[in-house]
Amino acid sequence: MHAELSRRLRRDPFFLIGSGLALLFLTVSVLGPAWAPFDPWDISFSPLAPPSAEHLLGINDGGQDIFSELLYAIRNTFSFGLLSGVAALGLGVCIGVISGWIGGMVDAVLMRIADILLAIPAIMILILTAALFRPAPLSLALLLAALMWPTISKAIRAQTLTLKHSLSVKAAVQMGGGNFYIMGRHLLPEMFPLYLIGFAAKTRMAIFMEASLAFLGLFDPARKSLGLMISYALKYYYMEIWWHWLMPPIICLSLLIMSIAFVAISLEKMLDPRLREPVLEGTV
């Protein structure tokens, strides 16, 4: 199933563009500090200067090089999203498999917690915590992950319940395999494509949240972020500098979220047999 999937993914333009862009942003995030021509906190340049050969995107109102700022902002925003996505995925998969495999009271309690978390708007808890305690971005990313695992674990749990009745799992139980052995060797590897969907959806949500929280001013003002850059630049939108100050973070944020949305939508399309292209229907 997995080999078939990767062959069809390679033919989907949305997946190709999405993953290509995501790789590009990953490279920028890793190499950004090395590529940045100036220190983004250096305030020694003449404020609001237009772009030049030296300063590709000009200078902001505080006398900082916008291009270097942008590279750091992409790095911070993207890594927040990836971290939160990975943590939410780990949490969601563990809870989903345990809940589905063990069942009984454990399942009931875990799924009730999931229902409650699903109902609470995550942004509100993040705003409250950020405003009261001013935590480090890392803690906020983990808190966000702790709030958004339920959708992943619901999907994983449902899949676990179907796999429970498959022959291979029944055989493993017959041979005396322990809980952890069966979960680790039989259940987890079977569900690989579901991880990708969950991870892409949560990473996208986390990037969006990070940009919004930064835009609302809930992070340390010295921390570069796409949302914060937009917030600062928006104050000067009526001046002729919007195209080289306001536009770059907006385009980067859109492309970043778009790349991950494309991957998620394309994976969902591939994995849901009911949505497949009508041409392929005969072969399914």
């Binding site: 409650i116 919004s212 609302l216 937009i230 979220i257 849901d272 009911r274």
Partner: protein, 321 residues
């Protein structure tokens, strides 16, 4: 059995509301120092001796969570020293604007997305379908922050078609009709931004669930009976696709509300988002606390209301045994 199943989500919503209220009570008490220093210590508004003792008197008789609930119910949410108004007054001033903006945006995006989804799914495999689905997927990737700013720069700065901020023109007394036009012109930019943000989700969900519904046997039967296509589309197919759209609404709300907060700020629309932004800048914790808690409670009430209404409308759930 049917009753517990019907009430399951409602219980989850009630517990979520309780959790939210408890968090907003307990988190400030975890701050170092006493309540008043903690809440107002980081604030950018210096308090006079008199104000501070008044605050202490207000919070001194702290009777735990029960007392907190009582204060919430009686609208004693404290006084904002950044805005020089009671917190409840600030909240209820901003609330109607947010309800107007979010309500109309959701309604329009829902109707547009649903009709478009049904029509496009019906034309499965055509060039129109591929184009619209591609376009919507593209639009789905653009966050509200970006659409909002681009629309602002284009329509309010470059072409100056719409005002850049506020909800109505100040100090103008005019007739009812002129006032409506004025309100509409101010609403145009944030409303369009939100519709553009909500539309793709509604569209894609409707289309996907329509495609599944259209494979059902009763659609073939309806076609075989020679019913007019529009009747099949809306009375037979779309009614069943609606279920998925409403269910997904609750799941997408956390995402949607985040965008709304940001969009209000971009066009300085005087709703809860802008109030929250200003309160964050002034570090006015009581206002932040009130906006966060009461907007969450309202979201929970709306979603659970929809859930209950839908459970009574859908015959499959009503008659489930």
């Amino acid at each position: 059995m049917t009753d517990t199943r019907r009430l399951g989500p409602v219980i989850a919503f009630c517990l979520a509301a309780l959790t939210m209220t408890y968090l907003s009570y307990v988190l400030p008490t975890l701050l170092p120092g006493d309540f008043v220093t903690a809440m107002y210590g980081g604030s950018q508004v210096p308090l006079t001796e008199e104000q501070e003792s008044e605050l202490r008197r207000h919070y001194e008789g702290d009777t735990g969570f029960g007392g907190y609930l009582k204060r919430l119910a009686t609208l004693e949410w404290g006084y904002s020293y950044a805005f020089l108004k009671p917190v409840s007054a600030l909240f209820f001033e901003a609330l109607p604007w947010t309800l107007l903006l979010l309500g109309s945006a959701n309604l329009l995006a829902m109707i547009l997305g649903f009709v478009l989804g049904v029509e496009v799914a019906w034309r499965r495999g055509s060039r129109l379908e591929k184009g619209v689905v591609g376009g919507m997927t593209l639009l789905e990737g653009i966050p509200e922050i970006c659409t909002g700013v681009i629309l602002l720069v284009l329509f309010s700065y470059q072409w100056q078609w719409f005002p850049a901020s506020g909800a109505e023109t100040a100090y103008v007394t005019s007739g009812f009709f002129e006032r409506c036009i004025d309100l509409g012109r101010h609403l145009a930019l944030p409303l369009t931004t939100l519709i553009l943000a909500y539309l793709p989700g509604n569209f894609l969900v409707t289309r996907n669930s329509m495609i599944m519904v259209m494979k059902a046997g009763y659609i073939t039967t309806a076609r075989a009976k020679g019913l007019p296509p529009r009747r099949i589309r809306y009375v037979h197919a779309a009614r069943n696709a609606l279920h998925v759209v409403v269910t997904r609404f609750g799941l997408r709300l956390a995402f949607m509300i985040t965008g709304a907060l940001v969009v209000e700020r971009i066009t300085a629309y005087p709703g809860l988002g802008t109030l929250l932004f200003d309160a964050i800048r002034a570090r006015d914790l009581p206002v932040i606390q009130a906006v966060v808690l009461f907007s969450s409670l309202m979201i929970l009430a709306i979603v659970s209301g929809l859930e209950i209404a839908y459970r009574f409308i859908d015959p499959r759930i009503r008659h489930a045994r």
